[in-house]
Subunit: 460 residues, 2 copies
Amino acid sequence: MKNELTRVQIDVLERIRPSRGERERLHAVTQQVIAAAQSALASRNLRATVEVIGSAARDTWISADQDGNQDIDIFIGFDTSTSREDLERYGLEIGKEIGIEGYTIGFAEHPYVKARCGGFAIDVVPHYRIKNTHQILSAVDRTPFHQQFVAEHLDARHDEVRLLKQFLKGAGIYGAELRTKGFSGYLCELLVIKFGPFVNVLESIQDWKVGTCISLTSAHARNSFASPLVVIDPVDTNRNVAAAVSLDSFSIFLDSARSFLESPCIECFFPQPIPPLDVSAFRAIVKKRKTTVFGVKFDLPDLVDDIAYPQLERAHKGMLIALQRHGFSTLRGDIYYDQGEAVLLFEMLVSQLPAVKRHEGPPVDSKQHANKFKKKYVNNPVVLSGPYIGDGRYVVELRRKYLTLPEYVEAEFKNVRSSKAILSAMEKEFQILKDEELLYSDSMRLFLARYFDKTLSNCD
Amino acid sequence: MKNELTRVQIDVLERIRPSRGERERLHAVTQQVIAAAQSALASRNLRATVEVIGSAARDTWISADQDGNQDIDIFIGFDTSTSREDLERYGLEIGKEIGIEGYTIGFAEHPYVKARCGGFAIDVVPHYRIKNTHQILSAVDRTPFHQQFVAEHLDARHDEVRLLKQFLKGAGIYGAELRTKGFSGYLCELLVIKFGPFVNVLESIQDWKVGTCISLTSAHARNSFASPLVVIDPVDTNRNVAAAVSLDSFSIFLDSARSFLESPCIECFFPQPIPPLDVSAFRAIVKKRKTTVFGVKFDLPDLVDDIAYPQLERAHKGMLIALQRHGFSTLRGDIYYDQGEAVLLFEMLVSQLPAVKRHEGPPVDSKQHANKFKKKYVNNPVVLSGPYIGDGRYVVELRRKYLTLPEYVEAEFKNVRSSKAILSAMEKEFQILKDEELLYSDSMRLFLARYFDKTLSNCD
């Protein structure tokens, strides 16, 4: 077992550790970008620091063979006396000059330039140079402190961070973005600093309970964060580095760690790719499950993932609750979002409801309510049976208004808890696709394959 | 309204008050039966009293035109020194002699003779003559005291009792037997003694709450009976005369009283008969409701209603709970029982369940349970999806074993809470009938008509 554990890690590292050529290429581009930034500053007579920040600089990034080219983050540090307008304006100007192969404008807390240079994507991030994290003016001001902490404490464990990152990728929980709600690169680095080599991290975390609180410094670990996992930021004790980690990502981490320690295998890092679902495979699955799958499809143009996902989640949950309240029972569902195309997926246990539903009224011995209820329902065409008495209460059996999900959604989508953007997108146009109609693109065929295959990375 | 109220009562009384000819016929037979009983006693040298007891003697019975011939109860009162064996033996012997047109043996607390004489059914009831109700040896010993109390307190309100009885018949809640769980004749008499004329009874009871407790004497009304209605027996304060009244019968009484007082009509006493359901009417109803009706049919030979109904109710309820637990949802159901032929009816909201069901496991951070759950379900052919993680717990989607009610009942009826008699009847043979197959007899067609029509007597 011990040998197997070692062998798997060596195999994985061979695939994820950047090659000498890759390092040299990154180094060359980094130097070129720093020079371009410095020259742009000099030509404007601006005094600012230029630093490369992030896994590229910290030597914890994963080879481009597995990951595509690494992003490079260039931080331009201005004096705190600089106005915010100037800071943003200079950031954009310098970014555009760096982007000799082109650029796009991204939006986070503020607009910023994503420049292309030497085949790499360069995020150009203007920030304030501050003395300590109490003076933070913008979230990015904290990042250089992270860099410094990792540099001072990681020692030679860069490969251990790489293993942990790839392991989390394999489990689908790497990344703090709202689509994944997983573990950020910085959090991986802190876990290695705290618990030691990759395998020690897994051994330490496998017994965690929901609500676990970790501190790397003498700062008291107080879990006033109400997150499933709290990792106190060593450079800012008011911040939980694991704030993005959802209960499910937390749980998947525990489960994957236990599975891997029990039977280490390379598939935990590189799961077998699932083939997209074709029509005949889809039919075979539905025949087995005897469920009905509906997708509510609409366009959400121009929303970045971190904005779109929480809204889609709220809309999906709102719809689930509304469907439940109207008597529909759903096995589960999912959210598809790709470049502005959204599908809310619902797998229904019953494709068509009966036309009748039971509605309970007041107890008969509560005379005033009883009279009101009877007035309302006697000789009412919506009543199929009743009023009659059951367990001392009035009961009527009413005609159900909507028997299928499409009937309900088409008539009532405006009354379902959602977001403004989604509501206005749906008001423009939406489609309801059923079963095989959902296999309309390669991307959806893959999405549905994953939906039905839904199983933990299982190394047996 | 007042006039309408009076007119309706007059119309009803015309139909339910026995005619002079009917009274004379009953009187003649009664005298004949008493004479026969006395002669049978004399020929055996037995000293015992002979009394006619019940509504026939109390002049509160309903005309044979509405009710068929009235039963006559002849009570033969023996001294308390008589042994129980002798009491029973003499009762049977005398009963057989009275039954000059034949007899059958009935079973209550003890075997007794139902004799036929002059076109009437005569129950011959041997009992002990006791001084007061503290000395009761058998439930029937109390009955002569009831007779005496009613004779002393009813005054001239015999017709008011008739109206109340017919009103309760119209509402389907007359009779204390376990099929009806309603109001006995003696209880009707007590309500009239307590509250006065029929309309006063309705006015008094319409505001009753569940748990109402009534006493006609100075005896304290204590509701330690846990019945929806308690009426302390004036001849035996330990007894609740309304013990048989179910919550639903109680509620129907309140509801009917309010309806009638609001708009008095003869249909409250004599509801329109419902025509039996034919196939085309059945199809129209099911098309409207989109439900599926199943009946589990078996024979329960030789069980009297009061034995059969509680067992059938328990079996029906047990089956409902078991179906629910297995994911079937039922709108409602009913029990059919007629001369040993039993049908447990279930109206299903969904005729066939999906083949997949969600099964939730332990929280992931509970390592020991987690390992056990994963061991059980990983690579288990019963799993269609999973294990995966939802809200921090393991979840699997399992293949459902039974998709329809017949599949479930045929395989699992032995594991459903029922009674010994029903279980052994079903082990012998049972059938599951679906939808139109249930219309196999006139009696079932009527039963199903009532099942779907289920609506309170509504006088509008």
